[in-house]
C-alpha cells in the first residue's frame, strides 16, 4: 500500500476547517463542482496512479471505511 492514511498535517483540525470553509455558503451543485476541481488538482499534485487508485478504493461507498 502506497497510500498514506496516517495524518500528515501538523494540525488535522486546521486542514479540516480549511475544507469546510471552502464550501461554506455554496449550494450543493456548487460544492460538488468545487470538490471535483479539488480532486483533480490534488490528484495531479500526487501524480501517482497507484496512490490515486488506492485512494479511490478507500473512498468508494462499498469500502470498509464507510
Amino acid at each position: 500500500m502506497k497510500l498514506v492514511t496516517v495524518t500528515q498535517f501538523a494540525s488535522p483540525d486546521a486542514a479540516y476547517v480549511a475544507l469546510v470553509e471552502a464550501r461554506r455558503g455554496l449550494s450543493e451543485p456548487e460544492a460538488a463542482a468545487l470538490d471535483a476541481k479539488l480532486v483533480l488538482i490534488l490528484a495531479n499534485h500526487i501524480g501517482d496512479l497507484d496512490v490515486l487508485r488506492e485512494a479511490i478504493a478507500l473512498a468508494k461507498p462499498n469500502s470498509a471505511s464507510s
Binding site: 451543485p29 460538488a32 463542482a33 471535483a36 476541481k37 480532486v39 483533480l40 488538482i41 495531479n44
Partner: protein, 533 residues
C-alpha cells in the same frame, strides 16, 4: 445509423466475368470483398507485390456521402508507397493544428506534427469519395486486379485450404474458390454474418448531427472543437475544413434526439445558422449518427481475414476508423504475399491478428475515452468533466485531460515478429513502429525523403563504417552515407545511428531489428523471425 445519402459521385458498370461461364469454379489466390478504401488498399498492395486479386463490390458506385475525411500521416505514407500519396495530398487540405474551446475561450491547442522533415503532413482532409476515386483509378491501372462491381457474396463455405463463395450478380449466381478471402465489406459486413460472427461492444447513446456545408468562409485551416459553445449550448461542436469550400460540422444532439427528425433541412439549417451567422451556405450532406466501439474477437477465421470496419468499429473522434483500416490492409498484404509465395507459413497470418488486434484495442480505448469525455454518461460524470474544462484555462495538467479526440498515430507493435534490442537505442525510431521519415540526398544529388527510397520488401539500412556487408538474397541493402546521404543529420538523430549501425525493416516499413554493427547471421535471423519462421 441513419443517413440521407447524396447521389453517387461516380458510377461504374457491371461486366460479366469469364469466371461466370466456367464449368468448374475458378480458383484465385486472393479475393477481397468490398471496394472501399480498405479493400482497395489491400488489393493494390497485393498487386504491387505480384499477387493476383479479385476485388468484389456489391454496388456499382462510390461516393455515397463524405464519411471519412481525415487521413493521417501514416496512412498517407502507405498511400504514397502505393503510388497515390502525392496526388491525395495535393487534392486535400493539409492541417496539423487542433484547437479546443470552452464556450468562446480557447483552452487548448495542439500541433500534430512534432517532428519536421517528413514528406507527408500530419493530416489531410479529403472527402472519402475523392480518396476512393483516386484508389479506383489506381486499381484500374493494375492488370493484376480484377475489379467486379455488382458482385455480392451471398454464401460462404470454409474449406481446409481455402474458401468457396457464391456470388450474386445481375446475371445470376456463380461460384468462386480462393486461397484467402479478405473481408473489407464495412461495419455491416455480409461476410461477417455469413461466417456467423458476433460483433459486440459499446453503443453510445448520444446522437450526433454530421453535416457537410458548402460556403465561401475564411475560417482557419485547423480542427476546431467546442465544449458548450454559445451557438450550441450544453453540447459539443466540431468544425473541419475540406477542399472545394466544403466544411464538416459535427453537432452533438444528446441521447434524446430523434435521428429521423433531426436530419430534416428545416431542423438542420437553423442549427447551422446559429453557428455560422450570416454566411450563406448550401447543405451538401447530412447524417445523424450514434457511435459504436466494438471489434471481432479474432480477425482471422480459417482462410477468411477481416480488415477495417468489418473487423472493428470506433467513434469518429480521433480519425481512427478509415486510418486504422488502411493500416490493417498494409499489415496483411505483405504477409499474404509472403505466404502465397512460399516464403512464410500460413501461421504468419496469425501475427496479423495479434498486431492489428493490439491496434484495434488502442483505437477503441482512445475513441471510447474521447466519447466518454465528450458525452458523459451521467450528471456525476458530467460534473467531473466540467471541472476539468473549468480548470483547463488555469492549469496545464487539466488541459492535458481535455479530450476531444486523440488523433490517430501508428501503433508500435509489441510483437513476436520483432527481434529485441541487444544494445540500447535512443531516437524517435522505435522497435515495432514504422520508421520515422526524414530528408535525405541521393548519390546523384537529388533531395528527397527516406520513405520514398524504401523498397516494398524487407530492407536493411546500414550506416557506413568501412565494412562491405551483404544482405540476404532478395533483401535490399541501403548504405546510409553512400546510397542515401544524411545531409541534415536527422537519420543519425532519429535512429540514434552510429557507424556500423544496422536496421532491419519489414515490408510495411516497421522496424523489426537493429544492431550496433552489421552481422549477416543476425540480420538473416531477424528476417526469418519477422516471417514467423
Amino acid at each position: 445509423m441513419t443517413q440521407t445519402g447524396r447521389t453517387a459521385r461516380y458510377t461504374y458498370g457491371y461486366r460479366r466475368s469469364p469466371d461466370q461461364d466456367a464449368r468448374a469454379p475458378a480458383r484465385h489466390p486472393v479475393i477481397v470483398v468490398g471496394a472501399g478504401p480498405v479493400g482497395m488498399t489491400t488489393a493494390i498492395d497485393l498487386a504491387l507485390r505480384g499477387v493476383k486479386v479479385v476485388l468484389l463490390d456489391d454496388a456499382d458506385r462510390i461516393g455515397e456521402g463524405s464519411r471519412g475525411i481525415c487521413w493521417a500521416k501514416r496512412t498517407l505514407e502507405i498511400f504514397d508507397r502505393l503510388g497515390v500519396g502525392e496526388q491525395l495530398v495535393e487534392a486535400g487540405v493539409t492541417w496539423k493544428l487542433g484547437k479546443v474551446f470552452l464556450g468562446d475561450d480557447l483552452v487548448y491547442a495542439f500541433d500534430l506534427l512534432p517532428e519536421d522533415g517528413h514528406k507527408m503532413p500530419a493530416f489531410i482532409n479529403l472527402q472519402q469519395y475523392a480518396v476512393e476515386k483516386v484508389l479506383v483509378d489506381r486499381v484500374l491501372e493494375l492488370a493484376d486486379i480484377d475489379l467486379r462491381w455488382c458482385n455480392k457474396v451471398v454464401a460462404l463455405e470454409q474449406r481446409n485450404d481455402g474458401v468457396r463463395i457464391t456470388v450474386e450478380t445481375p446475371d445470376g449466381h456463380y461460384t468462386l474458390d480462393t486461397d484467402w478471402l479478405v473481408a473489407a465489406d464495412g461495419a455491416r459486413s455480409a461476410v461477417r454474418d455469413l461466417v456467423g460472427l458476433g460483433f459486440a461492444g459499446v453503443t453510445f447513446e448520444d446522437k450526433f448531427l454530421i453535416a457537410d456545408v458548402k460556403m465561401a468562409a475564411e475560417f482557419p485551416t485547423e480542427r476546431r472543437f467546442w465544449f458548450d459553445p454559445p451557438f450550441h449550448s450544453g453540447q459539443s461542436a466540431l468544425m473541419h475544413r475540406q477542399p472545394d469550400n466544403i466544411w464538416r460540422i459535427d453537432l452533438q444532439l444528446g441521447p434524446e434526439a430523434d435521428a429521423q427528425a433531426e436530419q430534416a433541412p428545416e431542423r438542420v439549417i437553423p442549427r447551422l445558422k446559429k453557428m455560422l451567422g450570416d454566411i450563406p451556405f448550401d447543405l451538401e450532406w447530412v447524417s445523424v449518427y450514434r457511435f459504436n466501439c466494438r471489434r471481432l474477437e479474432r480477425f482471422v477465421h480459417g482462410r477468411v481475414v477481416f480488415v477495417g470496419d468489418a473487423a472493428h468499429q470506433v467513434s469518429p473522434f480521433g480519425a481512427r476508423g478509415a486510418n486504422s483500416g488502411v493500416q490493417d490492409a498494409e499489415n496483411l498484404a505483405w504477409k499474404l504475399a509472403a505466404v502465397l509465395d512460399g516464403q512464410a507459413d500460413a501461421a504468419l497470418i496469425d501475427s496479423y491478428d495479434r498486431e492489428r488486434a493490439q491496434a484495434a484495442d488502442e483505437n477503441i480505448a482512445h475513441s471510447t475515452r474521447s466519447t466518454d469525455f465528450i458525452a458523459p454518461h451521467s450528471p456525476a460524470e458530467r460534473a467531473l468533466r466540467n471541472a476539468v474544462l473549468s480548470l483547463a484555462p488555469h492549469a496545464e495538467f487539466a488541459r492535458r485531460m481535455v479530450n476531444s479526440g486523440r488523433l490517430s498515430v501508428a501503433t508500435v507493435y509489441d510483437t513476436l515478429l520483432a527481434t529485441l534490442d541487444e544494445a540500447p537505442f535512443a531516437g524517435s525510431a522505435k522497435l515495432g513502429a514504422p520508421v520515422p521519415d526524414l530528408p535525405v540526398r541521393t548519390r546523384d544529388g537529388r533531395s528527397g525523403h527516406l520513405l520514398e527510397h524504401l523498397s516494398g520488401g524487407f530492407e536493411v539500412l546500414y550506416v557506413r563504417d568501412g565494412a562491405t556487408p551483404s544482405a540476404p538474397d532478395g533483401v535490399k541493402l541501403t548504405v546510409i552515407g553512400e546510397d542515401l546521404i544524411d545531409e541534415q543529420g536527422m537519420f543519425a538523430q532519429r535512429f540514434d545511428a552510429s557507424p556500423g549501425a544496422t536496421y532491419v525493416l519489414r515490408p510495411d516499413h516497421h522496424l523489426t531489428a537493429r544492431l550496433r554493427s552489421f552481422d549477416a547471421g543476425k540480420v538473416d535471423a531477424a528476417i526469418s523471425r519477422a516471417l514467423g519462421r
